[in-house]
Structure formats: structure tokens, C-alpha cells
Symmetry: C2
Subunit: 328 residues, 2 copies
């Protein structure tokens, strides 16, 4: 990073800055770890590996290391799930295992168009009293991704981690409606907010998505991403608007986790490249979209269970093909 001129190292601002950066490493992921039972028009799974921290970590694991997961499970959490996450080089020091508890379970059924779903049951179990304890070794994390949990807990995590380079956070309807004050405080300390279009409209009471994104920027985060499912995603900053296409999948088997896989691909790419320019943020959005597109092609985490960097690059290029046009 530091420039050498005529054999002499020139200490530029960026050079000094990058030396400081080196003190902070890795990606911290905080969120739910769950066992999901999902029905879609294409099939069903029972007690399959899920949860925001899992989808985020697995998606990000194709780009960067170490990934440090903070979450909680019960003693019913299968050893094979642990082994899979460890195989993906995900550090599980921060995964609390409650000996006499049961893992968070969610059951849902998607409608025929896959754009809406009914929650059949939610058993919070050990997740109900989740207190994200950050292991000492995680405190120097450079990147932080906060899955969709109580905004108060999200903020508590940030109070513990010392000055990360970038904080990406998610939220959902429930917190917007029931915990607006806590959410408002948490938004002030997030750099990137990732929401879907319905959440954006609910949070800002503004139907126009561009205006909605700008209002969210006024609430704190300097970067807002609005996920629009089959219509792609929008990246909005004070200076940039970027419209990312959706990958044209003919068969979507299970939309569960797509948003978290997006967040994982997004922050994974940023952690890998450690560059926050507008051009690199756009690439990160496409990597996020890429991981989300793989995710929905199979049930649970199977779509992102054993990808290769080559496969990811191929799909990235398909996204380019899909949206490229020229002047004449």
C-alpha cells in the first residue's frame, strides 16, 4: 500500500491509514442460528440449518477470513452443522451452546408466486434471551455484519467492538413497528442499512424508493441498499444511485435466507478488498446478488454449501451480460 519513490518509502496519508487498518482484521457476524422448516411449491424441509448469522457467514466465507460468528443454539444443534460451519473456516468461539435449551425454530410456507409467505410457527427457545457476548479475540474485527436481531442488541455489539471499518445492518418490520426508538438509535451507528422495499416504505412512510432511501440516509447510515427480490436491488448514497438487476432464475426453490446471503456476499467482498469506493460498493452489491441467486436455487443453505470462486465469478459475469448496453 505504501509507495516507494527512488528507493525511499513515501509515507502518504493512505499508507499511514492502511497501517492503522491492519490492526483490525476479520468479519464479525452477529445474528440468529436456527432450524427452519420450510414449504414451497417445490418441496419442503424440516429443521434445516438456517438463521441470519449462518446465511451471512456462509456467503461471506467465499470471500474473506476469518469470519467470527456470534449466536446461540441449544443442545439439539447437530454436530454436523457445526462441522459444516467449521469447514467453511467460520470461527465459532462466539457460538453459545445452551446445555438445557433448544435451538430457535421457525416454520414458514411460501405462496405459489414465492413473493409472500406465512409464518407457521416461531419457537424462540434459547434465542429469546440471546445476549451477544463478543469473545475478546473478536473485538478487533474490521467489518461487522449485524443480522436482523433486536436493535438494542445490535447497538450493544457495536459498543463492545472498537471502531470497525464498516458496520452493515439489517432490520425487519417487527422492529420498525414495535421498537422505533431503539431502531432510530441503532441506525445512527450503522454505516450500511440493508432492507427490502416493504421495510423501506414502512420505515420512512414514503412510497417512492429513491426518496425513501434518502430519508434513511438522513437517519444515520451513509449507504442504503434496498432489496427488491425478483426486481434486483438499489444502492443509494449521497452521491450515487446504482440499480442492480436480479438474476433471471426460472426456478426459485426456497427464498429463505436470500437477503442474508446478499448481505454476506456484499460485506464479504468489501472485507476481501478493503475498499469502500463507489465502484467497489457496486461490485459488492453484485456479489451480494450473486450469492442470493445461488441461495434460492436450493433449500436451506444447500445453494451456497459448496460453491467455488470460479462459479461465483461466472455468475458475476452473467450479471454483467444481463445489464450491459452501449451507446451509439
Amino acid at each position: 500500500m505504501c509507495r516507494e519513490e527512488a528507493g525511499v518509502m513515501v509515507l502518504t496519508y493512505n499508507c499511514i491509514r492502511s497501517s492503522v487498518k491492519e490492526l483490525r482484521v476479520g468479519l464479525l457476524v452477529v445474528g440468529s442460528v436456527a432450524l427452519d422448516s420450510v414449504e414451497t411449491p417445490f418441496g419442503r424441509v424440516t429443521d434445516a440449518l438456517g438463521g441470519s448469522a449462518v446465511y451471512i457467514s456462509v456467503a461471506a466465507s467465499y470471500f474473506t477470513a476469518p469470519i467470527r460468528l456470534v449466536g446461540v443454539v441449544g443442545n439439539d444443534f447437530s454436530r454436523s452443522h457445526i462441522a459444516f460451519l467449521e469447514d467453511r473456516h467460520i470461527d465459532l468461539d462466539g457460538l453459545q451452546v445452551v446445555k438445557d435449551g433448544k435451538t430457535f425454530r421457525w416454520g414458514g410456507r411460501y405462496h405459489y408466486d414465492l413473493n409472500s409467505r406465512d409464518t407457521l410457527y416461531t419457537e424462540l427457545n434459547v434465542f429469546e434471551k440471546f445476549d451477544p457476548v463478543i469473545p475478546k479475540g473478536y473485538l478487533n474485527s474490521a467489518y461487522v455484519c449485524l443480522g436482523n436481531i433486536d436493535p438494542l442488541l445490535q447497538r450493544r455489539v457495536l459498543e463492545r467492538v472498537s471502531k470497525p471499518r464498516l458496520v452493515v445492518g439489517d432490520t425487519m418490520n417487527y422492529w420498525i413497528q414495535h421498537r422505533p426508538k431503539d431502531l432510530a438509535e441503532t441506525l445512527k451507528v450503522m454505516d450500511v442499512l440493508i432492507v427490502n422495499d416493504a421495510e423501506a416504505r414502512l420505515l420512512t412512510q414514503e412510497p417512492n424508493l429513491i426518496k425513501s432511501a434518502k430519508r434513511m440516509i438522513e437517519m444515520g447510515p451513509s449507504i442504503v441498499i434496498i432489496k427488491k427480490g425478483e426486481h434486483g436491488a438499489l444502492l443509494v448514497t449521497r452521491d450515487t444511485i446504482f440499480s442492480a438487476p436480479a438474476y433471471p432464475l426460472e426456478n426459485i426453490y426456497d427464498p429463505t435466507g436470500a437477503g442474508d446471503a446478499f448481505a454476506g456476499g456484499f460485506i464479504g467482498w468489501l472485507a476481501r478488498t478493503d475498499e469502500l469506493s463507489p465502484e467497489n460498493l457496486k461490485r459488492a452489491v453484485i456479489y451480494g446478488s450473486t450469492l442470493a441467486s445461488f441461495c434460492v436455487e436450493q433449500f436451506s443453505v444447500d445453494g451456497i454449501r459448496d460453491l467455488t470462486y470460479l462459479k461465483i465469478q461466472d455468475r458475476y459475469r452473467s450479471f454483467m451480460e444481463l445489464s450491459r448496453f452501449d451507446e451509439r
Copy 2:
């Protein structure tokens, strides 16, 4: 078009083909001419110039000439509207004026998010018995754009025009639901079908838009465009899928006519360039999106009343900026 080699004209296949092409010129537009009364959260207009043939012709007039309009109005159709269309170099030989009739009128109110609307009234008037008579001088038209009218009338137009280079057609929920057989016959003779996402799903009974587009291609048109409003548009052929972004407008004053302005910009560009390669079809989709984006910025046709080619080029480039990302 023909190549000269060592002073001798070489008659290539393309050269001969382009000579044949020259026998067919101009863009024929058939559709409604209307007086619209529209209410949106931003204001209202009464008896403003509208109708599919008007929006298509005006949008296309920035790209190509001659444009030949076929439609019908009553004796209440203002002289100033005629003057405006003539100023745009739109040939009105095919505009029937029914002496003792009234012009088609439509009244609608858009909801606060502008994505849905109520029809307040529809007075078909002279449009009820519209029989598109094609003047002799129009019969050699190279490009044909069929606005949203009875599919039987659309087909009748095509029976009269001799072998156009390209036929672009629109349809709507009403014909899909009430005239499926006539529509099916007409689709067989259309090259490009332009519909919105709801119409695509209704026509094919398929929620997935990519699958839906492929089914529509099986119905006849080799090119299908699905307009998705604030989410842009999809172009689908047997070999190509192209995802065009929507222009990020913060204020949409009146969505009326956006779809027709899209069709006009699309076919206008193709008529101008007379090239149907995949790359040029993509450009045409962006020019269509460009004209639609100008259209919704003001009421009635005001947004596309006096554009310049420079303004259009500028916005085309904004579309590029909006969707461009690179590899690394």
C-alpha cells in the same frame, strides 16, 4: 449501404437487401386518440391530450420520420392538438374525424403510491366503432406499432399492410380476459409484444416473469418486453435476457402514457437505425425507458412535448451510469 471496391459497386447480400428495404418506409402507429382527465397526488388535468396512438407517435417522433397515425376523434378535438401533432411531423392522413361524434374520453385517479389507479369513467364515443382505415400512402410502412386496441382490429391492420419489417404490439387485461382467442391469433403475427408484469402473469398464468416471457414467445412474438414500472423492464428473446433499470425519479407526476411512450421510444429507435441485432434491441429498450421517464415527469404529453435529441442522449447516458459496474 452498398460497398464500392476499386471503383466497382459490389452487390452484396446486404446491399440488395437494403435496396429492397427502401421500398418500405416510415412508422405506422394505430391506436386510441383520447382526452384524459387525470388526478394524481400532485394535481389534476381535465380533457388533456392522450391515447396510445398519441403517446407512441410523439415519443417516436424524436427518432424517425415519417410517422403515420391511424386513429379517430370527434369534432370536439381541439385544433391546437392537431397543430401540435403536425408540428411533431406526424402524418395525420389516417386520423378520422367524425363530424357528429365526440372524442374518446377517459378519467382516472392514481393512488398515493402511483402504482395503482381507479378508472373513474370511460366514454368510448367515436372510438367504440373505430375501424382503422389505412390510407394508401401508409401501406408501405416498414415499422408498425399497434397500440392497445381490440386484437381483431390489430390483426386487420396487419392484413392490410404489406410485409412490414417489424410489428410491435401492446395489449391489456381486458383483451386477455375477454378475447383470448382473438388475442392468440394476433400474437401469431406480432414480432414484439410489450406488456406489463401483471399482464404477462395473467396471459400466461405463470408467476415467474422469465418463464412467463418464454411462454409468450411460444405464442408467437420472437421478442417480448415486460415493463415493470418503477423496477424497469425485461427484454427476452430466445437467446437474450436483458434487464433495464428504471430511471430513479423522485417525483412522478402522472404515470398515464408511460407504457406507450416506452413503445414509441423503442420502435422509434429501431426505425431510425433499421437494425434488429440483440445489441440494438437493448439500446431501443433504454430509449423506450428514457421516453417513459420523461413522460411521467409531467401531466399528459407535456413531459415529451418539447424534448431535444440532446436531452434524450443525456438521459440515455444517465441510464448507463445507473446500471454500470465493472469486474475486478
